[in-house]
Symmetry: C2
Subunit: 123 residues, 2 copies
Amino acid sequence: MGSAPTSPSTFDLQPATDLKWDEHGLITAVVQDAQTAQVLMVAWMNAEALRLTLATGETHFWSRSRSELWHKGATSGNTQRVTGVWVDCDGDTLLVQVEPAGPACHTGAVSCFFRRLDEPWSE
Amino acid sequence: MGSAPTSPSTFDLQPATDLKWDEHGLITAVVQDAQTAQVLMVAWMNAEALRLTLATGETHFWSRSRSELWHKGATSGNTQRVTGVWVDCDGDTLLVQVEPAGPACHTGAVSCFFRRLDEPWSE
């Protein structure tokens, strides 16, 4: 409060923004690589995770399985530097564009979406 | 049921796929433009919406506000032809890549993510 911003990757929340949190106080966050446009992962943020994400310029989420705040990369080193945060038309989903320091997925894959669900029929 | 596939954009569900549906029987679906890689929208699917998406090759969702199945573009004409469906590492989110016939957003915007939430501090 009153302290100068310490990093150019630090953001202010637009005061007029209306966000719709779900019944658990969470909002869906899609994380996209800012350079390649690859969708890296989907996670959830509560208000504190969003505040920390905007304040530090690195992604923070709410872990639904562990019920705790999670600074992405805190243990793995695979942090994600935020370059932009967008909200959708009805205010219930965020798109977070990042420059990742390493793989997004705990498996070591660049993206968590490495399995194809569908298989086109061969005719 | 023995009938021949009618379209090359029709898919079979991989039988081994394990999907995790939430307590409402829904799964989050991120829709991405297959050509531009732009994230267009996020919506929810129940099992029937996913089945119809795979069977018809056009996106179907579950509308949480209207509590009904929703064939994207049925009224607007802005259908989305599916080119690939991916599931994330923990099986609770889908990435649906599409060729859109028109804007994804009901506002007429190409993508529902047209509002920036953050504003980089000027130093």
